[in-house]
């Protein structure tokens, strides 16, 4: 429960309100984590926030991509190289990259939801021979809001992976797709009965994406979503993130859709 001191190595602005922090432990020890896990980042004098890890699990530094939406994340955005933060974690259930071995993989993200999925992409690409067809489907608000655009272009340039991007709206000059993320499922080539899907983004987007996947025949237990609820302690103690009979911090944030389908339709949750 005690935050470890980490030093900011680099801060990079990704989009208008989204930035990436690269951190290194003061004592130099590497930070081990699994794709999909998160940490609690503590800004001295401001508080803590749960932030998904967005870097490569096979190598340092510890990378977080953060959208500034409140007091703590605004203060995180103001940090400079050399500043310190406290880090607790890693916490949470990871993406099913091991279960997905031998299967087709669909990685479907909306907006900043690509950040928590990027570690699983790194892992899968580093072990490409262990997976079937791999597709990355991504949607953003406009072309200017495409996160990790350089990564998407680099992934797309590979011959062994399918990448498709759409935006909600665009201006004349945009030569890509305009439409919703679930529609991209129709254009991808995969075996529904043999696929594992990992979905992250706004919950409404995840709902429609899950429906789209199920329409093609992907089973609910093979679709994984990353739930977001207010998290405080991150260790399943305070109860803030309770979601039905589960804690998002401890039992999630990654769940199979089969586990949480009933609760996702309960408005009060």
């Amino acid at each position: 429960m005690i935050p470890r001191p980490f030093r900011v190595l680099r801060r990079r602005r990704e989009l208008g309100d989204t930035f990436t922090l690269e951190l290194e432990a003061d004592d130099g020890t590497p930070f081990a984590f699994q794709p999909g896990q998160f940490t609690m980042l503590y800004v001295f004098g401001a508080g803590e926030a749960p932030i998904s890890i967005s870097g490569d699990p096979a190598k340092g530094p510890l990378v977080h991509t953060i959208r500034a939406v409140g007091t703590v994340t605004d203060r995180l955005m103001a940090l400079k190289p050399g500043d310190h933060v406290g880090v607790r974690g890693p916490f949470g259930a990871p993406w099913p990259v091991e279960k997905a071995r031998g299967h087709d993989v669909l990685i479907i993200a909306g907006g900043v939801g690509l950040a928590p999925l990027r570690p699983s992409i790194y892992h899968i690409l580093a072990n490409r021979q262990d997976y079937g067809r791999v597709a990355i489907l991504y949607g953003a608000r406009t072309p200017k809001d495409i996160l990790f655009e350089k990564d998407l272009i680099k992934w797309r340039s590979r011959f062994d992976i399918y990448v498709d991007v759409t935006v909600d709206r665009a201006e004349v000059g945009w030569q890509g797709k305009i439409g919703v993320v679930p529609k991209l499922i129709d254009y991808a080539s995969f075996s529904p009965e043999d696929a594992v899907a990992m979905v992250c983004g706004p919950e409404i987007m995840m709902n429609f994406t899950v429906q789209g996947l199920q329409r093609t025949g992907v089973a609910s237990e093979d679709i994984y979503v990353s739930m977001e609820r207010s998290m405080k302690c991150a260790v399943g103690y305070c109860g803030h993130c309770q979601f039905g009979g589960r804690f998002v911090c401890k039992d999630g944030p990654v769940f199979s859709h089969a586990e949480v389908a009933a609760h996702m339709s309960v408005r009060e949750l």
Binding site: D17, V112, D168
Partner: protein, 156 residues
């Protein structure tokens, strides 16, 4: 010029007509015509008679709304295997948007007057057409509503 037999084969290859009976496909091939549009070419214009709908065999199109004195507003893109144009189903049968080819496109058009005539003569044919168009219209409307939600916009 592709003969009717060839058009029947093209219809069979397109997902919209893939599960139709051979008899209906042959009947509808008489309303079909093959087209090719170059990149940037307009397939349809807002307000013009909607006398066809199109099956995209290859390529992509963008639906746009013209804005006087400004660049058009882009609505949606559609791609290989999809269909566009349902204003032919609803009076006054006018295109609601411009449709522009984003790249070289090959399409099959279905003549609306021909189709409406055949549907009046055979209501079962009409039912089959509506049964296939309604899910497409429903999906497009839902997609438009999702985009209206601006899910990726700044949190309030």
């Amino acid at each position: 010029m592709v003969e009717v037999d060839g058009l029947g084969k093209l219809l069979k290859e397109h997902p919209f007509f893939a599960d139709w009976s051979d008899d209906y496909r042959e009947l509808l091939a008489g309303c079909a015509m093959n087209h090719r549009f170059g990149a940037g070419e307009y397939v349809a214009r807002e307000g013009q008679p909607a006398d066809k709908f199109y099956l995209i065999r290859h390529g992509s199109v963008v639906l746009e709304y013209p804005v006087p004195g400004n660049d058009p507003l882009l609505i949606e893109t559609l791609h290989e295997g999809e269909v566009f144009g349902w204003s032919w189903l609803v009076a006054p049968y006018q295109w609601s948007f411009d449709v522009r080819a984003m790249e070289l496109c090959r399409m099959v058009s279905m003549d609306a007057t021909c189709l409406r005539g055949k549907c009046e003569a055979d209501h079962s044919l009409g039912y089959e057409l509506f049964k296939r168009f309604l899910p497409i219209i429903s999906e497009r409307m839902q997609a438009s509503r999702i985009r209206l939600l601006d899910l990726y916009g700044p949190r309030k």
